[in-house]
């Protein structure tokens, strides 16, 4: 499988904390969902910001396989423009990625139905609930149809049906060959859907691999992802 995103960060961070994350090395391959796992404040979002080139200090190498339509980013907090309708948001995203009118209409209408947002097509996002705003962010990402999806805590604010729809769509994109990097702290869902895991704690990548590899690494043959995560956190905390 081709590597779509290769991350090799020695350290990255902010002006007042330039080494917020250190030694983060992993890759996302074609048709693979990689879970970026960590507690609150572990450095998941900082790692994502480093990948998106949003940090003032990044010492390392981040490379995408594709030059065009490299990635779509779905942030934890929806980022929208208050004076544009839902449809205009989609149209603007299509313009930024040079999607022609026919492909735009087909994909956008399909997404409107899939996310049950047709009634809100000409509404302003200020009138949406957080879940609806999140759905719009997801629609924009699926409209762009990139090779890599970077998703930050996607389940916060989504209703159960929207979560299932979102996971179905992710699965379909995965089968079509996209790579997905998903940051989450909801470990039972992550265990069920992710192919590989990158465990982050206190700004460092402590372990990476499939669940089987993590079990082997921690010498716990029947451990869940939660157990592995607990083991790595306790081990690190004891050592520090």
């Amino acid at each position: 499988m081709d590597v779509l995103l290769d991350v090799s960060v020695q350290h990255a961070g902010y002006t007042d904390h330039p080494q917020a994350v250190r030694d983060i090395h992993f890759s996302v391959r074609q048709g693979e969902l990689v879970g970026l796992i960590g507690a609150n404040g572990a450095g998941k979002s900082t790692t994502i910001k480093a990948i998106l080139n949003l940090l003032p200090h990044v010492n390392g190498e981040i490379s995408f396989k594709e030059e065009q339509n490299r990635y779509a980013y779905i942030p934890e907090q929806p980022i929208l423009y208050e004076d544009l309708t839902l449809w205009e948001h989609l149209e603007l995203a299509a313009a930024a990625f040079a999607i022609d009118a026919f492909r735009f209409e087909t994909r956008a209408n399909d997404l409107l139905d899939r996310f049950r947002m047709r009634e809100a097509k000409h509404h302003l996002p200020d009138s949406f609930s957080k879940g609806m705003q999140q759905k719009l962010m997801m629609m924009i990402a699926f409209l762009i149809d990139p090779s890599v999806y970077i998703v930050d805590e996607p389940f916060v604010g989504l209703d159960p049906k929207a979560t299932v729809d979102f996971l179905d769509l992710l699965d379909r994109k995965k089968k079509e060959g996209a790579g997905i990097l998903m940051s989450t702290h909801i470990l039972d869902t992550a265990e069920r859907i992710c192919d590989r895991f990158v465990l982050i704690h206190q700004g460092r990548c402590l372990a990476a691999g499939t669940l089987a590899e993590l079990r082997q690494h921690f010498d716990r043959p029947s451990a869940s992802l939660y157990d592995c995560f607990q083991a790595v956190v306790e081990d690190t905390d004891e050592r520090s």
Binding site: Y81, L84, E91, L92, A95, H123, L124, S127
Partner: protein, 398 residues
């Protein structure tokens, strides 16, 4: 409330006032190039000073020709722009809100702070307008003083009434009540200033009534319940009222200035559909990225009430300049108008491009330039055309 608590609440209030002062100062000092400003301000002060002396001596003809209705209208606009600053924050609902006495203290000090600011700004305004009232209109010092008092009390009224307004009312109801307040308040204000000086007891009586009613409104505000979140929304808006203008004119973003960006709080009844282009109707047939970007700017400009209001203010200021200034200054004002409107619209463009949503995408530089020029032109032309027509008419009938 015991003395210790009072001290703490007062300290928090003062801290917020100071922090607001630092914020406003930071925006101004970072955006205004002081070397250029000095080159503009010093000559403007000298020329303004000479004119001001001329106003007192009564030898500036155009100054005497300004209709009194126009001055009353300008004063009423000033009265209408009064805003109550309470320095409450959304985070206060976690702790401070539970302390009723603290919140009442914030309301009280916020009211006095806003009142003191009004006295200061109205004082400056009346110093500027003194030659008009005293030399041109022949007003005696007593009536002039009462007019000053009337403006302060009217502004305080507007502050309190607008602050008492609840968001629970339907949008149309809010707009209708605001419209009624504006028209009725304006008529009453104008009538008082025009007619009352003829009746010796008229103005003092009206000032007394306004004072008593202001105290009543103030008590209502202090005891008002269920308006906290709307007060927070308004507070954030008031904090950014002038800062947004400065950033807009300098085409800079809050992040570049090193200040927290404007946090738009969700309104209680947000508008569901835009008032114009309700069906997301495209403006251009050709759906190129540049056209879609142009369309985005034009639509968001027309849909944003604050943008339209600010644009109206700039056009109004330019119209006043080209209509009432002496001939040479009219032409200078006309040229300044062009650059002022263009600069302000370009600032709006940069504000849009600096928004987080636009930063999610990589735009082609060529598309951005094309779109910016086209979008700014589309809004600049009607505004500048209006200023030009007024200039043409005023030159013809000079």
């Amino acid at each position: 409330m015991n003395a210790r608590n009072l001290g703490s609440a007062w300290q928090v209030f003062v801290k917020r006032v100071r922090s607001n002062g630092r914020f406003q100062r930071k925006i101004w000092t970072m955006t205004v190039d002081w070397v250029i400003a000095v080159y503009l301000i010093v000559p403007a002060v000298v020329i303004g000073g000479l004119y001001y002396r001329g106003f007192w001596q009564g030898n500036v003809q155009w100054f005497s020709a300004i209709p009194d209705v126009f001055v009353i209208l300008a004063l009423y606009v000033y009265v209408w722009t009064g805003r109550l600053r309470l320095f409450v924050e959304k985070a206060d609902q976690l702790f401070l809100r539970q302390k009723g006495a603290w919140m009442r203290s914030f309301m009280t000090w916020g009211s006095w702070y806003s009142f003191a600011l009004t006295v200061l700004s109205a004082g400056m305004l009346f110093v500027i307008l003194a030659p008009y009232f005293i030399v041109v209109q022949g007003m005696d010092v007593r009536t002039f003083g009462l007019a000053f008092l009337l403006v302060i009390l009217s502004r305080w009224h507007m502050m309190l009434i607008r602050s008492l307004q609840r968001t629970t009312a339907k949008r149309i109801g809010r707009w209708l009540s605001l419209g009624f307040l504006f028209v009725a308040g304006g008529l009453l204000f104008g009538w008082t200033l025009l007619r009352m000086p003829q009746w010796a007891l008229g103005m003092p009586l009206i000032c007394l009534v306004l004072f008593i009613s202001a105290l009543f409104l103030w008590r209502m505000k202090i005891n008002q319940r269920g308006n906290f979140l709307f007060d927070c929304i308004r507070e954030e808006k008031h904090k950014w009222r002038y800062a947004k203008w400065v950033l807009n004119m300098s085409s800079a973003s809050a992040a570049q200035m090193g200040v927290e960006p404007f946090m738009k709080q969700k309104a209680e009844h947000p508008r569901r559909s835009p008032w114009i282009f309700r069906q997301s109707k495209p403006l251009f047939q050709q759906r190129t990225p540049a056209n879609i970007l142009t369309e985005t700017y034009v639509k968001s400009f027309l849909r944003n009430r604050q943008h339209l209001l600010d644009f109206g203010k700039i056009i109004g200021l330019c119209t006043f300049g080209v209509a009432y200034l002496p001939l040479t200054l009219k032409w200078i004002m006309w040229i300044i108008s062009f650059f002022l409107i263009r600069q302000w619209l370009s600032g709006g463009w940069h504000e849009m491009m600096n928004s987080s949503f636009f930063k999610l995408f990589d735009w082609q530089e060529e598309d951005l330039n094309k779109a910016r020029q086209k979008a700014v032109r589309l809004i600049l032309i009607p505004g500048f055309l209006w200023v030009s027509i007024v200039l043409g008419l005023s030159v013809m009938f000079i």
